[in-house]
Symmetry: C2
Subunit: 344 residues, 2 copies
């Protein structure tokens, strides 16, 4: 069932039917109702490609996802982020499209996306320090919003980010106040901007307390469970093991806890742990009292804000850039306690 057939059935022109369905005023109410009724009855829906061709709008938002190195897609954070974003898309009638990109092809992919006209805008996920995609997208002129920021990029762009530096600064200070001196950081990949900023916060807090940051206590990799376990295990075997650990995600924190258990130590009593908590649906930080003391910020919520901003941007491309800083809350759970030395 297409517009032509529907128009014929109604003894009306395509123009009138199209206008009736798209809410134009120059159609009588009686006709509009007739048309709407018939459309419903015949299950008519405008072909999206034809509509897109005619309007120049795809009603699709793109997510370009690096395939090999960063594995953005398999990071459980991805699902919650997308779930949040999809809420806004659904509300405003957009679909979302994912394009997988192998490293190095990104420029190609963005060019293709705009040339093929398959999306109206994109969300830039997992920005790295000095991320070349930002100037690229500004140059191409495809509307985009960055989830995070990119240190080193001077030009203006829209972003939504968590105050990563501040939250890790606070978390570190919290541990210092508990008497900890040897505090480890099990970070994400440090080319990722968020990880970079978290380290800054961590280092700054140490320095303000007169503690010299120790490179042996700073690890960086993809935030898997196995990684959290592996690094913790290694550090607990050191001559002077850390008494507290900052983890970059719930998942690596779970690995951290496993290593602590295996070493025969007790969480909070022997080793304190603070993690960043993206408030993932399948990995909630406990139910009543949090499992881990954590810096918490819902990534699902971020996804929703981001996608709304993108839709606005698409509809008003010339509006000034917007930035949105989210503050993480520091929730106290059962994974932190005074430094062991203090008690002796």
């Amino acid at each position: 069932m297409n517009l032509k057939a529907l128009a014929k059935k109604l003894q009306l022109s395509q123009t009138t039917v199209s206008r009736a369905l798209n809410g134009y005023p120059e159609v009588s109410e009686a006709t509009r109702r007739r048309v709407e009724e018939a459309a419903r009855e015949h299950n008519y829906r405008p072909n999206s490609r034809a509509k897109g061709l005619a309007t120049g709008r795809a009603m699709v938002i793109g997510h370009v996802i690096p395939a090999s190195t960063q594995h953005e897609m398999v990071n459980p954070v991805f699902g919650d982020f997308v779930a949040g974003a999809s809420r806004a898309y659904a509300t405003f009638g957009y679909d979302m499209m994912f394009t997988r990109v192998d490293d190095g092809d990104e420029e190609q992919v963005y060019h293709a996306l705009v040339a093929k006209g398959s999306v109206d805008g994109v969300i830039l996920q997992g920005p790295r320090v000095n991320d070349a995609r930002i100037p690229l997208l500004n140059r191409i002129g495809l509307p985009f919003i960055v989830h995070g920021r990119s240190s080193g990029i001077e030009e203006s762009y829209d972003w939504v980010d968590v105050n990563n530096k501040r939250s890790f600064q606070r978390a570190t200070k919290f541990l210092i106040d508990l008497g900890h001196r040897r505090i480890a950081l099990i970070n994400g990949l440090e080319q990722m901007d968020f990880a970079h900023r978290r380290r800054e916060g961590y280092v700054e807090a140490l320095k303000s307390a007169g503690i010299e940051p120790n490179p042996a206590l700073m690890r960086s990799a993809e935030m898997t469970e196995v990684y959290g376990h592996h690094e913790t295990r290694a550090m607990l075997k050191m001559e002077d093991p850390p008494t507290a650990i900052l983890a970059a995600s719930m998942i690596s924190a779970i690995g951290v806890r496993r290593a602590i258990d295996e070493a025969g130590l007790t969480l909070a009593r022997d080793v304190s742990v603070i993690t960043h908590d993206d408030d993932l649906s399948y990995l909630r930080n406990g139910s009543d009292v949090p499992i881990f003391t954590a810096t918490r910020s819902s990534v699902q919520h971020a996804g929703e804000i981001l996608s709304r901003m993108l839709i606005e941007k698409i509809e008003q491309p010339d509006a000034p850039n917007q930035n949105h800083m989210l503050e993480a809350e520091l929730v106290v759970g059962r994974s932190t306690g005074p430094a062991p030395e203090t008690r002796r």
Copy 2:
């Protein structure tokens, strides 16, 4: 840059340029090279909507994702599945599109998808027992492949599934052979077909060993960490607590372990645990020796098979339906041991 402009620049007709770029034989090699060169130089890519309109093919594969009850999207399994699928899509030039659907609207959404012509086929995720979507899609005639099966649906359809019944039967038998008698099942939602089958396997194994299944030891919900923790904690407080637990996913198994730890018990020695392991990138079951004894089957691999099958199906809609059964392997880790009673 569009076809018309490119043709003018080359002093050729649109027909010839189009044919040259699409590999038709009736274009001289010299012309083809000229055209390809110019296309590259001007960064020309056919507009996907126009192409789709003309060919009737969208080159897009749809994933329709239930929003509220099942939270398919926020289940970390989702990311790995999609990552696997996207590999095949990228290879064959398809994009993937996600449509979020609120419960109850599914029929609407599928109808809309085919009416709007926005996808060439869909992947049906998370089939439930007696899932109405299968007859619906068969009726509509939209190519689809099911990730899993649906007990109770008699008609034929394409699917890829893990032999869930068999794998949970084996896991249960493994525990029985270790002397366990009170074996709990912390399952997924039992309207989900996979969970249903897993329970069948579990129950059957118990019965063959002459053990009467105990409803108090069978729990069912979404497979979050908190849920695994909560149910385990409750069961360990029972008068006759289980000595072994079967968990439905790594994530709930992590919750199970947490509850065991909190109860002051030791994994494997006091309580054995077997989990199903989807081989998620961020939640690998340990590195050398598995953390958990597990039934393992890579969901990423399943995604890849499934998407290949769908692409084939789209290209040959009349081919007979294909089914693909994957066997999970039972890997022995450090979470299982003889039943405590045996040692006494």
